[in-house]
């Protein structure tokens, strides 16, 4: 009888330790920073096609310290299960001028509405971004990329 009691206590302690580590892991990965694998041609030449490991931080977008020039991770407005990496070109109130290279170089100007941001990939020829799906609400931003860890020859902070 006593053996079962001791066994139960041991199991409970182990479960609590596991729960503590799991919660710490979750809070760090969603509120502080985490490493992410990025791939795709839309941010060339800043980010490589595949194999880049980027550190994403989750503090700036919560305190509202994001501005034009920041590389951000955004939940795609076209498919909520995908997270895309783009650069912020304009924030609310900015007047953004853009052109679509495939559409005969036609130039358009748009004012970014309140609560939205205009995102574009660095590789304008191979990027589906705000030029196709319009300004995205600020609430879709998941994090900001601030440091590249891999490959080693481009180790360093991202501008």
């Amino acid at each position: 009888m006593r053996r079962w009691g001791l066994l139960a206590k041991e199991a409970l302690t182990q479960t609590l330790t596991f729960a503590r580590f799991f919660c710490l892991f979750h809070v760090t990965n969603h509120y502080l920073w985490s490493p992410t694998l990025v791939f795709g041609p839309s941010m060339l030449p800043t980010l490589n096609l595949t194999g880049d490991v980027i550190l994403a931080e989750y503090v700036s977008h919560r305190v509202g310290r994001l501005g034009p020039g920041d590389i951000v991770f955004v939940r795609s407005p076209v498919d909520p299960n995908k997270i895309v990496t783009k650069r912020i070109v304009g924030v609310e109130g900015d007047r953004v001028t853009y052109f679509k290279p495939r559409n005969g170089d036609s130039c358009h100007t748009v004012v970014v509405p309140k609560g939205h941001v205009w995102i574009q990939g660095d590789n304008l020829y191979a990027s589906r971004d705000s030029r196709q799906f319009g300004p995205v609400p600020y609430g879709l931003i998941e994090g900001k990329a601030f440091f590249r860890v891999w490959p080693p020859n481009s180790f360093g902070s991202l501008g």
Binding site: A19, C23, V27, P80, P113, G139
Partner: protein, 182 residues
């Protein structure tokens, strides 16, 4: 004399130990609570009358926040972003990411929504949904700000938990104004 000093020192150390373990426990419970509220379910109060009579049946401004309904919001739906018509959801406002609103999903991607005001139909784009409040006369919803991206949704309301006489499961309600492909 030295006995009193030693006793004083021991009691200070005991108080420091107690304070330290109390802080550690608070921190652990805070982390666990935050994880559960992000991944599984949380309890939030509903303000305003845009979802009357489903929530906040009586909008008594004298009672104010004392008469708000408290609801259970589940987060399992965020794994695949799979929603159905009639789901009541919590989402970040598209014009101010710090505000959260509670409305019902009327249209999913691919549905045609008819707006009786302008006698006009529009198709809900991919990755978006059309939301409306149950009380159309006092609800700021997709009829003003258009369809919202599914990525703004932060959870789905399943039950009312408070006040006790209104505890019940929230049912899906279908709308007569839409045409679905299926």
């Amino acid at each position: 004399m030295s006995c009193i000093c030693i006793l004083g020192e021991i009691s200070i150390m005991a108080a420091q130990n107690f304070l330290w373990s109390f802080t550690k426990n608070c921190f652990t419970f805070g982390l666990i609570g935050l994880t559960i509220s992000d991944r599984y379910a949380s309890i939030v109060p509903v303000r305003g009358s845009s979802m009357s009579p489903t929530f906040n049946l009586t909008t008594d401004s004298f009672m104010g926040s004392l008469s708000d309904d408290y609801v259970l919001v589940e987060k399992f739906c965020l794994q695949k972003y799979k929603f159905s018509h009639g789901d009541v959801i919590v989402f970040c406002s598209p014009s101010n990411h710090k505000e959260k609103h509670v409305k019902r999903i009327i249209g999913l991607p691919g549905d045609w929504i008819g707006t009786p005001m302008t006698n006009d139909v529009m198709k809900v784009p991919n990755g978006h949904c059309w939301v409306e409040g149950d009380n159309p006369s006092s609800s700021l919803d997709s009829r003003s700000f258009g369809p919202i991206p599914l990525g703004l949704i932060k959870g789905r309301v399943t039950h009312i938990l408070w006040p006790p006489q209104r505890v019940r499961h929230i049912e899906r309600k279908n709308h007569e104004n839409i045409l679905s492909p299926s």
